[in-house]
């Protein structure tokens, strides 16, 4: 059902990495983890993933910087990226946050957005849709 698609999970929280890895693996995806932007960039170069989930609020290396580099790179700019973050807008609603990122002109809007705490069904649905595997939500 997943056609062995590769997902790169970028999050500095090992537990979140483990959680998402297991979630995706359990649904037939091949998963790789990276704890910061640098590791993530290396992972993308080594083995181009089909999709990336990216935590934007990592302290050491900015997730935004990694995202900008990926989107600027002709080989990688088409990889769909899902933003995962605990930072939400003034009312805490994901819709607000999406508007917030969309309003920040210096970065292109993400392909999708998931707020922590992550709803596994929502996440899987997004992944399937972005990878063109039907079951869109």
């Amino acid at each position: 059902m997943s056609d062995g698609k590769k997902i790169l999970v970028v999050d500095d929280e090992p537990d979140v990495c483990t959680y998402l890895s297991r979630l995706f693996e359990d649904h037939g995806y091949a998963v790789r983890c990276a704890a910061d932007g640098e590791q993530a960039l290396e992972a993308v170069r080594l083995d181009k993933p089909d999709l990336i989930t990216l935590d934007l609020s990592m302290p050491h290396t900015s997730g935004v910087r990694f995202y900008r580099e990926i989107k600027a790179h002709s080989d990688f700019s088409s990889i769909p990226v899902i933003f995962v973050t605990g930072v939400t807008g003034p009312t805490g609603s994901p819709a607000d946050t999406e508007r917030f990122y969309a309003s920040r002109r210096q970065i292109p809007p993400p392909d999708a957005f998931v707020a922590k705490p992550i709803d596994p069904e929502e996440m899987l649905g997004l992944v399937r849709r972005l990878l063109g595997q039907g079951g869109s939500q």
């Binding site: 500095d12 929280e13 090992p14 537990d15 483990t18 959680y19 297991r22 605990g86 930072v87 922590k116």
Partner: protein
């Protein structure tokens, strides 16, 4: 009355008749008096308002007195033959007071002898009343001007302060005619975008914000309002500038903003913990589903880890929110350090970090023992984390804590040779909810340390640079700080 005078009075009556009714018609009180201040004659207006006063003493008629007034202008006219004037308050037949201007002049016989004195009262009651009201409203205006809880000035086109209220005079290096920009900011030239100048240009009121510097050098944040002052023809003669001190409001806003960041940071932390808990449950459930004990164990460990993290976060939050002042009990920092080292011994052993102490065991503080424990465990825990965060092959890591007495202070230094911090990280240390440690930090540890130190009247600072490790230095007074003494936090320097 002497015989001569009676004769003269008869002559005067003749004069009066000659003047016809003019004497009666004038809108003043006119009377003619002899040397004893007896009224020989008076005009109709006097009769109307003061009754039949012929032959009565002036002072009795006008003031109800039983003796002549001191400084009587009639007496002076008799004495020197000249005209005199004064201001008096007299009372009419109904007892109503009237303010009058008094003029006296002598009436002479053909030989030049002063026969009598003419006394003329001009009723200025209405004018006096207006004068009083004007004075009252001026006083009221001046009081409002002076007591208004803001700085008010009136300026001319050259931005010279031509009027200033008391508050302005008291708070700024003020001199009449000084330029606004000198007084308020110590500048030598007008500020760019001067609101007063703009109001002079088009007469419209303006509002803005600015920062002034008062005479003690303190920055004062103000909201500025300007308004044109016009003469009766509508010409702008000056501009009033009103500066409202909003420093405290701004400080409060800053506090609220940092509280907002704190709450946001905590929410972020809680979300991550929640994520960890969900992940643990998810993996545990996979283990049950597939009958894989290693997954069950892994999930369970994740749950345990995140529950512990949540407990730490909540303890730190509770500590940050605590308002009670700490107790003052004798505490030995060296003994507390031993407990803290015991707490971290296992972790240090596993990670190969050596814990070293160089502590004066005689030193005793007056402090809240739990707080000192919390302070040291936060700092030592941070130091261990800093060592764990670096991937230095073959490097031997150590955390060294010194406790020593310096004058009247206990100095506690926690030094590590771990990952270190850059300037940006260091500058955020004690002020904001901040963690570089992802899952391992609550972001509150140094806020807690800072709170402990300031509540005990001490200071905390940090020195660090990337790759060089960090030194946190805490100074606590050995004596209880004087009540009300403001604790301070200092920021360290980057090596």
């Amino acid at each position: 009355m002497s015989e001569n005078a009676l004769v003269s009075a008869a002559k005067l009556r003749a004069v009066e008749q000659a003047c016809g009714r003019l004497f009666d018609e004038v809108p003043y009180y006119i009377s003619i008096q002899d040397r004893e201040f007896r009224i020989l004659t008076a005009n109709r207006k006097t009769w109307e308002d003061f009754g039949d006063c012929l032959g009565e003493f002036c002072y009795r008629v006008y003031k109800g007195r039983s003796a002549p007034c001191p400084e009587c202008p009639v007496a002076r006219t008799f004495a020197d033959g000249c005209e005199h004037s004064s201001q008096e308050k007299i009372f009419d037949r109904r007892g109503l007071p009237r303010d009058v201007l008094v003029n006296t002049r002598p009436l002479r016989d053909p030989s030049g002898q002063v026969l009598a004195a003419m006394e003329l009262f001009t009723d200025v009651t209405v004018q006096k009343e207006l004068e009083h009201r004007l004075h009252d409203s001026l006083t009221r205006f001046q009081n409002l001007f002076d007591l208004a809880p803001c700085f008010i000035s009136v300026q001319d086109r050259e931005l010279r302060v031509i009027e200033a209220n008391r508050r302005l005079m008291e708070n700024f290096s003020w001199r009449l005619g000084g330029r606004c920009y000198q007084i308020y900011k110590g500048r030598s030239e007008p500020c760019p975008q001067c609101l007063v100048a703009q109001t002079f240009q088009d007469g419209k009121p303006r509002c803005g914000e600015d920062v002034l510097v008062d005479r003690s050098g303190r920055s004062v944040q103000v909201v500025v309002h300007t308004a044109a002052i016009r003469d009766p023809r509508g010409q702008i003669t000056g501009v009033m500038e009103l500066c409202d001190d909003v420093s405290e409001i701004r400080a409060l806003e800053d506090k609220l903003a940092s509280l907002g960041r704190l709450v946001g940071g905590i929410a972020h932390s809680v979300k991550n913990v929640l994520e960890g808990l969900r992940g643990g449950l998810y993996i545990g459930n996979l283990g049950f589903r597939d009958n894989k004990p290693e997954d069950i164990r892994a999930g369970w460990e994740m749950v345990e880890r995140n529950v512990a993290r949540l407990s730490r976060l909540i303890m730190d939050m509770l500590y940050c929110a605590r308002e009670a002042s700490p107790r003052r009990l004798p505490v030995s920092p060296a003994a507390v350090l031993q407990e803290v080292f015991a707490l971290y011994a296992e972790r240090a052993r596993q990670t190969g970090i050596s814990l070293e102490a160089e502590a004066d065991s005689e030193l005793t503080l007056l402090a809240e023992p739990r707080d000192i424990h919390s302070l040291l465990s936060n700092l030592v825990g941070n130091a261990i984390d800093a060592c764990c965060s670096e991937e230095g092959e073959g490097k031997s890591y150590r955390v060294k804590v010194r406790v020593a007495r310096q004058d009247e202070q206990a100095v506690i230094q926690v030094e590590d040779n771990g990952v270190g911090m850059d300037e940006e990280t260091r500058s955020k240390l004690f002020t904001k909810f901040f963690s570089t440690k992802g899952p391992f930090g609550t972001g509150l540890g140094l806020l807690v340390a800072h709170k402990v130190v300031t509540e005990h009247g001490g200071t905390i600072s940090a020195q660090s640079s990337p790759g060089q490790g960090s030194v946190f230095t805490v100074r606590l007074p050995l004596q209880s700080p004087v009540a009300g003494a403001a604790p301070t936090a200092t920021r360290g320097t980057t090596q």
